[in-house]
Amino acid sequence: MKILRAMILTGEGAAGLGVLTCLVLAALTAPLFFPGDPLAIVGPPLVSPFSDTAYPLGTDRLGRSVTVELIYGARTTLLVAITSAATALGIGALVGTLAGFFGGIVDEVLMRITEAFQTIPAFLLSLAFISVTGPAIPTIVLAIALGAWPQPARIARAEVLSLRERDFVAAARVVGMHPLEIAVREILLNALTPVVSLAAVIVAAAVLIEAALSFLGLGDPNRVTWGSMIAEGRTVLRGAPFLSIVPGLALVVTVLAVHLTGRGFVAAIGARRIEA
């Protein structure tokens, strides 16, 4: 709670958290306010934005409401971005902790694997993974996580290496704690703070990768996504550019909010350290 209050005091954190809260609320309550299929045709095609109160942001090429699509798109974006970032952080924290804790040959092998993953462009890896497994939400989540875990792994490893030599770890060893227990209880929990501040960067990247994948038609075909909306709008780019521009603005606002929240978190942690 203290961190939350400190974050809101930073301004950046307040703006980011505010936007994100609105997005999450909109995503969660979408079925209450807009029941039914978001992909259903509700009116004439290509109504321009702000011209008809029934469709505040207009309708697309097929007469679907852009407003409803946008709100349901937030659901997909948030679901994919948050789960894939959590997966990436989980894998990264695990690999990094193991590498840093055991050292030696385990460290060497795990770090070479991490490096190998980093030499392949993350987006290309996701693309290859999805074309082999097929587009569905779980595979998309995994595809994005595959490209994102090396960075948290490196940070977790560095953190563990610096923590391993600290007094409280030595004390735990003297008391006779099992090495694995030390790894989980003493080290993993302490290494978490820097990994979490990386979370914002990873969530932001995941939002953009998900958007690019669904823009290319590799998203889940049964769900509305902002990327697929941009791709749809592209076919009528000359006549109705707003259809591509509006969902893109939603992406920019979301990613910006995630970045601001992350900066707010880092600033809040810093402020707390100074206070202590």
């Binding site: 190998a116 030499t119 987006f123 290309l124 690019a212 521009i245 893109g248 992406l251």
Partner: protein, 329 residues
């Protein structure tokens, strides 16, 4: 110079296990995909009876266990044989090397734009950390960094190609224009302007922030305080002392970002219909040509390793601390 050579050699040896792991990954994906190289070959040549199929499998080493299959795959890779593209009915390496120049030109120009303009603006912002222009530039760059490259490309197309009609909407050059020499060069340049901008501007924001943050850190160092105490003019202090030292971490990012930019150029090449490796990857996806897609993945890994190697060398040359231990400065 000798230091740089030893560094180069050590890095080259270190790259071998990494490439091997990448090859294992590519092999696993290839195995997971439906069909194998024989199926692909037969689909193109018109099929064969089951006897001929098993004969071909034995000939290509596809009837053996997974380990032998991997060794055969790795041996082929080592010879530069990346497999057979089912979509193009040609060796994967030929198809990729044909498309590589466009992508490298696009990325080179985008990197030049991003690094050049980005670090200049970064110096401008970092000259006075916390000032109004610093905060304005930092916030703008954060917003720009939040833009998806493909969307920025579409917005630029709407503005400059559809509304203003200044620039072409896509492609690498005017088809069958009969232009040559300088005219052709200018034509390609006009076509590349929007794709380079949409790929580069996002990274421009990144380099701006990096340069600015790096400078903000350097300002706190003792040697800067000392230089200030010696009464060095502010302009000289910013450029020669702060900016020069702040540049090093930014140069490292140049190598690290190359892979990410390669990923970004896939979508940008798709939006602007540029016949490069990125668009090739998309064609491979849409035609289910897994060997070609994995070929692009492997080549990208090699390029990323090579670029990181070059960055390391550039770092060694730029870093004043590295130069001082050798004979040459």
């Amino acid at each position: 110079m000798r230091r740089a050579l030893i560094l180069l050699l050590r890095r080259l040896i270190g790259a071998v296990p990494v490439l091997l792991i990448v090859a294992v990954g590519a092999f696993l994906l290839l195995e997971a995909a439906p069909g194998d190289a024989v199926d692909a070959y037969l689909a193109a040549t018109g099929g064969a009876d089951s006897e001929r199929v098993s004969e071909l499998r034995a000939e290509w080493g596809l009837d053996r266990g997974p380990l032998q299959r991997f060794l055969a795959y790795a041996a082929a890779l080592a010879r530069g044989d990346l497999g057979w593209s089912t979509a193009f009915q040609r060796p994967v390496l030929d198809v990729i090397s044909e498309r590589l120049p466009s992508t490298l030109i696009l990325m080179g120009l985008a990197t030049a734009l991003a690094f050049g303009v980005g670090s200049l603006l970064g110096i401008f912002a970092g000259a006075r950390p916390g000032s109004l222009r610093d905060r304005a530039l930092s916030l703008t760059s954060l917003a720009v960094y939040a833009m998806p490259g493909f969307w920025l490309g579409l917005v630029l197309i709407v503005i400059f190609a559809v509304d203003l009609r200044w620039l072409p909407i896509g492609g690498l050059e005017t088809i069958a224009s009969g232009k040559s020499g300088l005219d052709r060069f200018l034509d390609i340049g006009r076509h590349l302007l929007l794709p380079v901008a949409s790929l580069g501007i996002v990274y421009l924001a990144l380099y701006l922030r990096l340069m600015r943050d790096s400078m903000a850190e350097i300002w706190k160092e003792d040697f800067v305080r000392a230089a200030r105490a010696r009464g060095i003019p502010r302009r000289r202090l910013i450029l020669r002392h702060v900016a020069r030292n702040a540049l090093l971490p930014v140069v490292t990012m140049l190598g690290l970002q190359f892979g990410s930019m390669l990923g970004g150029s896939i979508v940008v090449e798709g939006v602007f219909a540029i016949p490069g490796v990125g668009r090739l990857a998309l064609e491979a996806v849409s035609q289910r040509d897994i060997p070609l897609l994995l070929g692009v993945m492997l080549i990208s890994a090699v390029i990323v390793i090579a670029v990181n190697l070059l960055t390391d060398i550039a770092y060694a040359v730029l870093d004043p601390r590295v130069g001082s231990s050798g004979t040459a400065a």
